[in-house]
């Protein structure tokens, strides 16, 4: 069983984000990138499957600051192959271009499962997974929070709003958008990462030109501005309760008295 996990690097929200002079993109001067949290869960899910049923795990990352760290950390956790996509990712690449690029590389790897984060916090389109599946001619299932593979069959647990979970049989090969791994991403001790940096090999694959067609264009980016503030209700418990009931009645959320 070959599991391929393509990952994305997204802006680290620990640093303050600024909008660039053009007004339609982030200023990347001080931007620091971090692995997309959902992709981190996709990697964990891959290792959980490998531990249960054996197989090979390949991680694919774009050539951006932080990619080597992500790849060597994955190697320290047990990844078998590390692939870095060499291309001009520096200005940001939209999900259509990324999916086309990933499809070319991943198709050649002949995976049984492709696990990727269901979305990333820099776009929240959740489109890479479905687009990738379409290009690869594989089925796609998103919002997955658990996978069981046996005898070439796969059962996926898909999350729905309201706490509903569906168990679905999926024919392999398939692409899954991972919402959460069955366990939180594991810790790996620093000495193992240091070892991996000495012993693991990162393969490099050229991406060629990106084809960004089909994506929506960002016209303007702006900060959210607070226009109204929450009203703090003060007083004794009874006074607060009376006021709260009055507010709810006023907004039509409670039936009028009588």
């Amino acid at each position: 069983m070959h599991i391929v996990v393509p990952i994305k690097l997204a802006p680290d929200l620990v640093e303050d984000l600024e909008i660039d002079a053009g007004g339609a993109a982030l200023d990347r001067t001080f931007l620091r990138l971090i692995i997309n949290e959902f992709d981190d869960h996709a990697i964990e899910q891959a290792f959980l499957l490998k531990e249960r049923g054996g197989g090979q795990v390949t991680i694919v990352a774009p050539d951006l600051e932080g990619a080597d760290d992500v790849l060597y950390t994955a190697a320290a956790k047990g990844a078998d192959r590390l692939i870095k996509l060499i291309g001009d990712f520096s200005a940001g690449v939209n999900c259509h271009a990324l999916a086309r690029t990933l499809a070319k590389v991943i198709g050649d790897l002949h995976p049984d499962l492709v696990l990727t984060g269901v979305q990333a916090h820099d776009d929240l389109d959740g489109a890479v997974g479905p687009l990738l599946a379409e290009h690869l001619g594989m089925p796609y299932l998103g919002y997955v929070a658990g996978l069981t593979v046996s005898d070439g069959k796969c059962m996926a647990r898909k999350e729905y709003p309201g706490g509903l979970v569906a168990e679905m049989d999926v024919a392999l090969p398939a692409v899954f958008g991972i919402q959460a791994a069955e366990k939180p991403p594991r810790y790996v001790v620093t000495s193992l990462i240091t070892q991996a940096m000495k012993s693991a090999t990162i393969e490099e694959i050229e991406t060629g030109e990106f084809d960004s067609g089909g994506a929506a264009a960002v016209e303007r980016m702006s900060r959210l501005e607070a226009t109204t503030h929450a009203e703090m209700i003060e007083g004794s418990t009874d006074q607060v309760a009376d006021k709260l009931v009055a507010v709810l009645r006023e907004r039509g959320l409670l039936a009028p008295r009588g």
């Binding site: 620990v14 640093e15 001080f30 939180p184 810790y187 001790v189 620093t190 193992l192």
Partner: protein, 399 residues
């Protein structure tokens, strides 16, 4: 069928290699003083003595199954009383924690603190670029070493908590005012400073300590200064005792030592009385840890404050009760509560209250937040004030 137990050599070897005197493990008499003095020994499945017995019996599976080693807060109480002087805290317990990390048995909150350290250079997960944000309100401005052209008297190693934690920075701001009042030329590293690595290393992350020590060592070698002073006892302990093993040998003083040396210069500046009974909590890391024994300097500084009456808690100096924050304990409060339904910081607060003190003086950036939390959880927040020695001194100096 019976199986012959075999000692798991790699673990045994790693324990012995972890510290220079690790081979002393062989000298254990099984006297049990370590387990007896351990504040959480009652709740641990394998306190140090039992752990050594298990190592000798080659029966380590139950040790790795039990997670109670995470109750160890690296307070060095065991190592301090061991008649065979076995490095129990920095050798045995830290090595066992490494094994637990390798087996991926680490409470989530501690895992986050370790991951934060690796990525951001601080346990709190704050932006490294904001490491000097705490001093932006201070005038005259505190120079970053990267901006100073002249050598300074003091390079101040501020530390993680003292740089970022909203309560701990108040003590840092007070310390800055003291340096300025004494006319000391000083500078800080700001974004160039990384976590000292003490609590991470004692939580089993030796590899992380090595990376942090090399980063800090590289920066410390770049600048010219008379001495390094730190406000963090953990930085003092690890820079003094562990950095040399990573090839970084720099002299370091705790700020209470620095102030005690200048007490005659300080005394005339103390204009305001602190009319209260004050008790002092000895931090493990500058106290009994590695026999650092910085016990009298903090008391000398406190006693210089007019009106202040110094009283002692039942446990003081080498027998001080840990605040519970060392060796990763600061991120294991939830775990410790689940296991024991007690809080070490509350035990200490109860002792401070029993001493009759109105003020609890501290000298470690973890302690003001931890003890103030303990006062709240005990419902005693009006009975005791927690102040860093730097805050008490700066208040006494204020115009």
């Amino acid at each position: 069928m019976t199986t012959t137990p075999t000692v798991e050599r790699p673990f045994y070897d790693r324990v012995m290699e972890a510290v220079p005197s690790g081979e002393k493990l062989k000298l254990c008499l099984q006297c049990g003083m370590c387990s007896g003095i351990c504040p959480y020994g009652f709740a641990m499945n394998f306190p140090p003595q039992s752990l050594i017995a298990a190592v000798r019996a080659g029966d380590l599976d139950p040790v790795f199954e039990s997670e109670t080693v995470w109750l160890c807060v690296s307070c060095f109480a065991c190592a301090n009383v061991c008649p065979a002087q076995i490095p129990l805290t920095s050798g045995l317990m830290a090595s066992l924690k490494t094994e637990m990390l390798l087996r991926r048995k680490v409470p989530a909150e501690l895992q986050t603190a370790l991951e934060n350290t690796r990525r951001y250079g601080n346990t709190l997960g704050e932006s490294p670029r904001k490491r000097s944000a705490w001093c932006q309100s201070i005038t005259p401005a505190i120079p970053l070493m990267a901006q100073t052209k002249e050598p300074v008297d003091v390079l101040w190693f501020v530390g993680d908590y003292a740089s970022y934690h909203p309560r701990a920075v108040l003590a840092s701001q007070a310390m800055a005012r003291i340096f300025q009042a004494l006319g000391i030329r000083f500078g800080i590293l700001g974004p160039e400073e990384n976590s000292d690595g003490d609590v991470q290393y004692l939580a089993g992350e030796r590899g992380l300590l090595e990376i942090l020590a090399q980063k800090n060592g590289k920066v410390l070698r770049k600048y010219k200064y008379q001495e390094i002073v730190t406000t963090d006892p953990h930085a003092y302990n690890v820079i003094k005792h562990e950095y040399p093993g990573v090839g970084v040998s720099v002299p370091i003083k705790h700020y209470t030592q620095f102030l005690a040396e200048r007490i005659e210069q300080i005394k005339p500046l103390l204009r305001h009385e602190h009319k209260a009974a004050v008790t002092y909590h000895d931090p493990c890391a500058i106290g009994r840890a590695n026999k650092n024994n910085i016990f009298e300097e903090p008391r000398l500084v406190l006693s210089a404050i007019p009106g202040l009456e110094l009283v002692e808690m039942a446990h003081n100096r080498a027998t001080s009760i840990c605040c519970g924050g060392g060796g990763g304990g600061n991120w294991l409060d939830g775990f410790a509560w689940q296991q024991t339904h007690t809080r070490m910081s509350e035990w200490r607060i109860q002792e401070a209250l029993a001493s009759g003190a109105q003020t609890l003086a501290v000298a470690c950036p973890y302690e003001a937040p931890r003890f103030e939390d303990a006062l709240k959880s005990l419902g005693a927040e009006n009975k005791l004030v927690v102040k860093d020695i730097a805050e008490l001194l700066a208040d006494a100096m204020s115009a």
